[in-house]
Structure formats: C-alpha cells, structure tokens
C-alpha cells in the first residue's frame, strides 16, 4: 500500500513506460498519442472543411479507447493514488521561480500561476493555455509525432527523423523555459 501511495522513482517510470509501449505493439498498433488530435478534428466534422480530415475515425477506435483510458487513469490517480502532490525540487529551481513571482512552488503538480482557477478567467491566463495547446497540436502533427511517438517509439527504433524531432522539442522547450517564461511572468 505504501508503494502505491508514495511517488514512484524515475527508475520505476522508464520500465513501466516501456511495458506500455510493448503492450501497445503487442496489441497490434503503433504506440503514440498525438494522432488523436487529428482524429478528434475528424470527429468534430473537419472533413467538411479540408480533405486532410476525410478519414474514417472508426479505424482509430482503439486509440480513442486509449485516450478515454488516459482520462479515467488521470481521475483515478488524482483522486485515489496521490494523497500528496508535493515535488522535491532542486533549490535552484525554487529560487528561480520565486524570483519570477511564483508561490507555493512544488506543493502541487501544477502551479496556480498557470493552472489556477482565477488565472483561467483572465485573458492572459486563458491565452497562455490556449496558445500552448495550439503550438503542441500544430507542432506535433507537423513533426509527425510527440514524446510518445518520436522520443520513445522513434528513438528506440533508431529512426533519424525522430532524433531531429526530439532535437526540435528541446530547442522549443529551452526557448520557452529560459526566455519566454521570464517574459510572460
């Protein structure tokens, strides 16, 4: 019981993610998450606007079930499995974020400055989330995969395009955290 409620170490995470990948392939499908954003477009009727989305989304019912599982798993985790969301952060990280005006740093998985209720009803807070989402959705489809599809599936199967994509992920992530976050906060 203790193991279930404590945070899991990084060396538990890697193998369990690999097992997820193994099962996904064992069930006969290619492991990845971001194609679902396109499938959701198709389901919302985007095929009427662009031929790109004229696909049969029922062919991707397995992936939609996986997504529903992700959502259910998120609720199960947040309600039952993580009594304490505090994160043991590097003191340097805490100091930096304090200087940027963040509070209660690492006491929850998600900072109130980005995910808080009151932030949602401010134009700035809303736009930060919406634009980030647009960048994630656009970027991942342009790159042809996300962390699951490129960084884990692609790198482990030694695909060069995935190495380029992961290189891009880090350029973007570094620009965001080193330069953009200090500007917007």
């Amino acid at each position: 019981m203790d193991f279930i409620l404590q945070p899991w170490n990084w060396y538990v995470g890697g193998p369990l993610i690999s097992i997820s990948l193994l099962l996904y392939f064992y069930f006969g499908k290619n492991f990845g998450a971001s194609t679902n954003f396109e499938t959701l477009c198709t389901m919302a009727g985007a095929g009427k606007v662009s031929d790109y989305f004229k696909k049969d989304w029922k062919d991707r019912d397995f992936a939609l079930l996986f997504v529903i599982g992700l959502i259910i798993g998120g609720f199960i985790s947040s309600i039952y499995l993580i009594p304490n969301q505090s994160i043991d952060l590097n003191p340097k990280t805490v100091q930096e974020l304090t200087e940027l005006g963040f509070s209660n740093i690492g006491s929850q998985y998600f900072p109130e400055e980005i995910f808080g209720e009151e932030v949602l009803f401010s134009l700035k807070g809303f736009l930060i989330l919406l634009i980030s989402g647009i960048l994630v959705g656009f970027g991942t489809r342009y790159a042809g995969g996300c962390t699951s599809g490129h960084a884990i599936t692609g790198l482990s199967s030694l695909q060069f395009p995935s190495l380029l994509a992961v290189f891009g992920f880090f350029i973007g992530g570094i620009i965001a955290t080193w330069f953009i976050i200090p500007i917007i906060f």
Partner: protein
C-alpha cells in the same frame, strides 16, 4: 440478430482502455505530468525526467530488437514493425520546435494533456481545445508547408 463488425466500438479493443488507464497512472505516479518536472528538465536542473525518458528509450530499444528478430510477435502472431516516420529536416525540426515551445510553457505534451483532465479539468480542457485547433490548422496548411 448479428452484430456486424462496423459497430462503433469493437469490443476486442477494450484492452486499449485498460492500457490507457495503466499508462496514465504510470505518468501520474512518476510525476511525469507535472509542470515543474518539465521546467526542471528544460533548465537542466534535475535528472528525474531524463531518467524516466532515457530509461524508457533504452528498455524499448531492447523490445524493438526482439520485435525485429521476431522473438516477440503481436497477439495475432504477426511480426511487429514500427511505422517509419516521415523523413525530412524542416518538418521534424521546425514542427518539433513549435511543439517544444508549447510543451515548455504549459508543461504538457500530447498524452499528459488527457491525463491532466483528471487533475485540472478546466485548464486541461483549454489545452486540449488548443491542441485540437492546432492539429486542425496543420491539416489546413499541410500541403503548403515545407517538408
């Protein structure tokens, strides 16, 4: 009455629902959905996410070799062949960079957006709507973008 195979949900795929639940729990319990963990990663201030992603890649490499040699086959007995990613420099690096910008600011990449719905419903919904819009814009522009 016979249920035909065009029925919306093919029940044999229900295993993917359970796999999704499992994967979400793994990401949640290892803090791999936390905004702070990705901030630290991109600032090179913690080993945690490198350990998780690096470990996942290394062990998956072993599985990929077992797929390639045909030692592990899928549940229908077919050889497992991961899809080949589209080649090209601009679309991978530029697309990857745009994705990284969104990931770095929001701390959420594709799969975690769905998991975070269970933690922070409204903010994750905004992220999700954004991601769907982003994929939509890509679809509209896909033929015009450099590869």
């Amino acid at each position: 009455m016979v249920y035909n195979s065009n029925y919306i949900l093919d029940m044999k795929n229900i295993k993917f629902l359970f796999l999704g639940i499992f994967f979400a729990i793994v990401l949640s319990k290892t803090q791999a959905i936390s905004w702070y963990r990705f901030y630290e990663m991109f600032k090179f201030q913690s080993f945690h996410m490198y350990g998780i992603i690096g470990g996942a890649v290394l062990i998956s490499m072993i599985f990929m070799q077992l797929f390639k040699k045909g030692i592990i086959k899928d549940n229908n007995g077919n050889k497992i062949v991961p899809k080949q990613k589209k080649k090209g420099f601009i679309h991978t690096v530029l697309g990857g960079t745009l994705f990284g910008l969104g990931w770095g600011i929001s701390g959420a990449c594709a799969a975690p957006i769905f998991v975070i719905l269970g933690f922070k419903l409204m903010p994750a919904l905004i992220l999700l709507v954004g991601a769907i819009l982003g994929a939509f814009f890509y679809g509209l522009l896909s033929k015009k973008l450099p590869n």
